[in-house]
Each structure stands twice: as structure tokens, then as C-alpha cells.
Symmetry: C2
Subunit: 392 residues, 2 copies
């Protein structure tokens, strides 16, 4: 009788694991606490932002087959907060009826920029012209294709593994490994749109956001929602984002990054098949956040409402240049006193230049207020350390 | 050098404990994840709603002196999610420079309904007329004071320890222990207002909410924000709530429960010196939630913005009559599909009649929509168990 009741309990509370314990895992777990779910996290660092917010933390390498397989065995479902995980282990788990969000077949494509490009072409998704270069000598033969962007097929992340090749003089900066050489696009705007797909294949679109990047770090700086685009462009963007997400044939959250060129054409840049930096504002700015939405998908609940409550700007708070060590948040008090600002700090103990330490979302019906306050936040709130680091 | 750096780190990340690990602790910890803070929870049940969301969970009795003292030693600050804690241990900790929110002197008054009544009188806070009855024989001598409400001085909670004494025939139902006999008030409305006070003595008021109680369980059912009261009454309510909170001479969150009688007079019913059921809607309906606000107070940050984003109704989701056991949420899918509803389930494994299992907040500018959807939620979402319980 006791045994029976235990089995019943195990059936009624779903056990769901997250590969990776950074800020995305942290925000996922903040939302998980609205639902009956038992949460598991796998991550190498037991002081990571998500470690203390789950029911069961496992210290281990998300890139290792055995570690991922052992972690996933017996769970009902698994999601990721980074693509760079052991896909083979997820394939085996999927074959053993653990649900994976997104499916391993999606990760297989996304992790390899060559396969990702080919996927877009195969599905008639507009994307910048490209060539595949298997090594540096192949790049040298592509002078006529310049200016272009060279993207390492695997292993690139947050600006690493991407190199602009304007002229043949830049060719030595290219990668001597399989890569995509993408024709330079004259960008008018960068757009991202998050699409949610559930197991029934139903979909929901968040309003697209407009992004500005820090040219040095290639990190997201300001992000306006909804994007300032005309209706025709919006329709194109939505049709493309939805088509990308549907063609992956997997439930999950898909952040589709797009470029609008000077002619108004919309080109897909890349897709993240997971909760994403471009959806952080949805925590306060939309009825159902991207994090809530992923739980709804994994738990088999109805999709949530993606309507915005107010327009927003989201600002990433990144480690200040010249500081490396125990973090101190300079300007935090001033930013916390801004009436329409929502502050999220990720609890990382150490800052370093360019590290994502938090984000701030401003909500307002007034665009001027959004820009004014977000620029103020960016200038004011600086993750520094007690002593400047030694110049390298 | 290593030692020095460790000390520095210990100084920069505040360590804050919560006595009690129920839904209030759970929601506090969801918000804590926006700030750099190391969290501790003390609670007897290691499967309680808050146990897995803190850095350090201690299983132990919040009413035991040694347990509370050992838990609190070395922390920077402590807060509570229930008044029924060991106040003597908190007094000792306060003397040893641990900050307590609210101060133990407040808990001392609040925990004892006689002292609480005397406190209101002493500070000229309007409250219903009362007598102190030290036992049942004292109650018997109070026939001329009826109809009245008999409230046990200590140990009452969620409707227990409160008894309506309409006529002398009801007197045997009264308490044979120290109690307050409060003159019956003809209630027009029940109001609650949350006041935040920081260590500098600065204050912020949330808009008052209007409550309807379930007469049988004395549990909060629907709660409208802002309350539907005229400006004169609002001013009275605000002045009284602020006066109560200030007179406690302590930083913290204070939920002041008030009655408006048929003459429009405002009377304080009681105060909870902590985050409170009457502030759950602030998670989505206000810029700064009551939970966020308490962290701001404890971490020495500026007070947050209490302005509402939208009007709201909050509905408590309580265990359905006749069910006792592993919970199943009947109607959850239908409620999750309501576009302006925000669902919070507390992760309690067992339901029983009247137990608070979750809450749902509806946001809308349209009052009709608020009422329509909240009544629908209340009727639809029922925590039941697989088998009805045996009638008692």
C-alpha cells in the first residue's frame, strides 16, 4: 500500500532536468516555482546561478555522454540552456522515452553552422548567401565573395568564432577549419522573434524585438520591444520566424534572429532553440514570459498569452572593462530607484569584462522614457571589482 | 591572502534567513533570485514549498529557542513568514547585531491579541471597542457587551481561535483562556493595505485592496485592487495604515487589515508584520511586488515603486471540501488558457479542505473582466485528490 502510493506520487509530479545552470536556468527555475514540478540541474560549477534553485543539483559536465545520460535517465523531460551539450546522450534518452525540448535532431543542426545554413536553404528560408570553407586555403579562393563574415562551423559562442573578412588582407584572420563564409549584409535592423511550439504542434509568437549590438563584444546591448518596423516587414518577419520554428519539427522555444537589409529584405541569421537573451523582457513586459512558456510546453499545459502588457527596453548588464574579480555593482542604488525599471542580477560571484551579470527591463508606454531610462541604466549600473585588473 | 579574500566575499554577499518555508517563503525566494544574496530557510518539513529554493535549508522547529538561535547566529538578517516563531531567540540575535525584520518587539505585540489591541489604543489607532476576558467566567460577565467576537490572545491562526458570540447562548463556545472580546462591527467592507518601512524610516504604501471572506473557513477568497472606496475613505485608510506601521518602530512589510463600518468609519482589525496573502497580486499588478520590496528593505536598497500596472483580482486556490491526499489540480488547463490570468501553485504535495494550495491573479483594466474571470477561476480550479476522503 505504501509502495503503491509512492509510485502514484512519482507519476503525478513531473521530473524535469535542465542542462546548464547559468542565468537562463536561474530564470527558468524562478518560474518553475509556479507549477508542481520537481527540478534537476546539471552543471560543472556548484556555485552557478541556478544551483540553489532546483530540487536536485548534479555537478557534472553537460558535454560528457555518460554524465548527461546518467543525469537524464528516469527524468520525464530535459531542456537545455546552452546548445553545447552532449547530443548523443540526449538521442539515447529520447529513444528511451525521455522527452527532450528541443529534440536532439534540432540541436544536431543548430550546433553546426554549416548544417544550420543548409537547413535554411533546404526549407526555402531566406538567409544571406554563403559558401562552405573547409579550411583557410578554401577561404583564400573566395576573394570574389568578399566582403563576408567567416563563421566557424562548431564551437563558436558569444562573438567567438565569428570574423569579419572585408578584403583579402583579412583572410589570415579567418578560420583554418570547417566554416561558413557568409556574404556581407548591409544591415538596416537586427530583429529577433521568439516562437513557442507545443507537442501538438500549436504555436504562439512573441512580438519581435529590435536589437543593437556592442560592436566590440558582439553582445546584446539594448533591445526594444516591439521592434520599430512597418506592418509589411512585420508580416515577413513573423512568417519567416514561424516557418523556421515549424520546420525544426520539435516542441520548444525558438529565438529566431533575423537581419533586415537596406532593401527591406528579411534574412535569417541564426536560431537558438531555447529560452534566449532576446526574451528576457517577457518576464515583465508580456502576460506569459518565455520561461513560463517553456514550462507550459514541457508540462503539457496550454500555450500562454504572448501579448505585451507595455512596450519595453531591455539592457544587458555586462562586466565592465578593466575589472576581474569579486563583483561589486556600482550604481545599483540609483538604478533600483528608477520607477519603471526591473532589475535582475544573476548572482555570479565573479565579474570579468563582457560577462553577462544581469539585465534591466524598463516598461513604459512612452518611447522617450524607454530610451532615456535604458541609456541611464547602461551608464550607471556597472559590475566592477574592488581592484582594477592588471592590463593584459 | 586566501583568507583575506574569503572574508571579503563573506562581507559582500549578505546572508539572510527566513523562518518558515511555506508559500510566502517560496515567493520571497523567487524574488531573491534577482539580487546577490545568500538565502537560508528554517522549517520542520524538508518537502515544504520553499525548501529547494534557498542556498541552505535547515530542518528544525521555528518555535524552539536553540534551533532558531543556532540558525540565526552568523546571518546578517532574518525575516519571518509566520508570526508563530521563537521571539526570545530573535531578541538574543538582535542583541548580537543580527537584523530582524520585523523587530522582535513587533512580534511580541502582534503574537498576543491583547497586547495588539492595547497597542492600537495606546497609539490612538481606531479599532473596535473591546474587553479583555481572562477566562470563560469573565466572558459570562460580559453579556451586555454582546454581540461580539471572542479572539484567543495567543495561538489563533487562519480562523482558528476566533469565535462569534452573538447572544449569551453562544458564551459556552468562547475561550476559557485569556482573550479579547471585541464589539461586533457592522462591516461594510474589509480592506487591507500593505505598508513598507525601511531602516531609515522611509515608507511606501501599496494601494489598498478590498477583500471578501469565505464565512465558513474565514479564508480570503477574492481580493480586488484597488479597493472600491471613495477618496475620503481612501485618505482615512492610508493615514491609519501608515500610522500603525510607523508606530511599530521597525523596518519591514506591514499588512494592515481594516474594517469599514456602516457609518464609513475605519477600524483596524489586525496587522501582519510580514509579506501577506493580501499582497500576492503585487507580483504582477505592481511595479515592485511585496516580496521584492522586503528584499529591498533587508538589503538596504531604495524602496520600490508601489504604483499599480493594472487593476487586479486575486483568488486563493484552496483545497476542495471532501478531499485529503496527493493533490490533483482539477481544471488547471482551462485556467491556464485564460489570457489575463497568472497562476501560482505552491507545490504542496497534499491537499486538504481549506488548505492554501495556490493563487491566481487576473489583470485587466475592465472591472467586468476581473469579476468574470476570477469567479470562473474559483469555480474551475479545484485542488482535489484521487479518492474522496472518508467523511468525518
Amino acid at each position: 500500500m505504501q509502495e503503491l502510493s509512492k509510485n502514484k506520487k512519482e507519476k503525478t509530479t513531473p521530473r524535469i532536468g535542465i542542462l546548464g545552470g547559468g542565468q537562463l536556468g536561474r530564470m527558468l527555475l524562478q518560474e518553475a516555482a509556479n507549477y508542481p514540478v520537481e527540478t534537476y540541474v546539471l552543471e560543472n560549477d556548484d556555485e552557478c546561478p541556478a544551483a540553489h534553485l532546483c530540487h536536485h543539483f548534479t555537478k557534472g559536465d553537460i558535454k560528457d555522454f555518460d554524465t548527461v545520460y546518467q543525469f537524464g535517465k528516469g527524468l520525464d523531460a530535459i531542456t537545455i540552456e546552452i546548445e553545447n551539450v552532449n547530443v548523443e546522450a540526449l538521442e539515447k534518452l529520447e529513444a528511451e522515452a525521455v522527452k527532450i525540448f528541443p529534440r536532439p535532431s534540432v540541436l544536431h543542426i543548430i550546433k553546426d553552422k554549416i548544417l544550420q545554413k543548409q537547413f535554411y536553404k533546404q526549407h526555402q528560408v531566406p538567409t544571406a548567401d554563403y559558401r562552405i570553407t573547409k579550411d583557410l586555403s578554401a577561404l583564400q579562393k573566395s576573394e570574389s565573395f568578399l566582403p563576408a563574415v567567416h563563421k566557424l562551423s562548431t564551437g563558436g559562442y558569444d562573438g567567438r568564432g565569428v570574423q569579419v573578412i572585408n578584403t583579402k588582407d583579412d583572410i589570415p584572420k579567418g578560420f583554418d577549419a570547417p566554416a561558413v563564409l557568409e556574404k556581407w549584409v548591409s544591415v538596416q535592423k537586427e530583429i529577433a522573434q521568439i516562437v513557442a511550439i507545443n507537442e501538438k504542434g500549436e504555436s504562439a509568437l512573441y512580438p519581435p524585438v529590435e536589437m543593437l549590438f556592442d560592436p566590440q563584444l558582439n553582445l546584446l546591448d539594448y533591445q526594444l520591444c516591439p521592434a520599430d518596423i512597418n506592418e509589411q516587414t512585420l508580416w515577413k518577419v513573423e512568417a519567416i520566424a514561424l516557418s523556421v520554428a515549424r520546420n525544426f519539427a520539435s516542441p520548444g522555444i525558438f529565438a529566431v534572429e533575423m537581419l533586415i537589409d537596406k532593401n527591406g529584405d528579411v534574412l535569417v541569421n541564426e536560431t537558438a532553440p531555447r529560452v534566449h537573451n532576446s526574451g528576457h523582457h517577457t518576464i515583465e513586459a508580456n502576460y506569459c514570459s518565455q520561461f513560463d512558456m517553456l514550462w507550459r510546453i514541457m508540462l503539457g499545459y496550454p500555450l500562454g498569452n504572448t501579448e505585451p502588457i507595455f512596450p519595453s527596453i531591455m539592457v544587458n548588464i555586462i562586466g565592465a572593462e578593466g575589472f576581474d574579480g569579486d563583483v561589486i555593482y556600482q550604481g545599483l542604488e540609483e538604478v533600483l530607484a528608477i520607477e519603471d525599471a526591473f532589475v535582475h542580477l544573476y548572482g555570479k560571484k565573479q565579474t570579468r569584462p563582457g560577462r553577462k551579470m544581469g539585465h534591466v527591463t524598463i516598461l513604459s508606454k512612452e518611447k522617450q522614457e524607454l530610451f532615456h531610462q535604458s541609456i541611464r541604466v547602461k551608464k550607471t549600473l556597472l559590475p566592477i571589482s574592488r581592484h582594477p585588473s592588471i592590463p593584459r
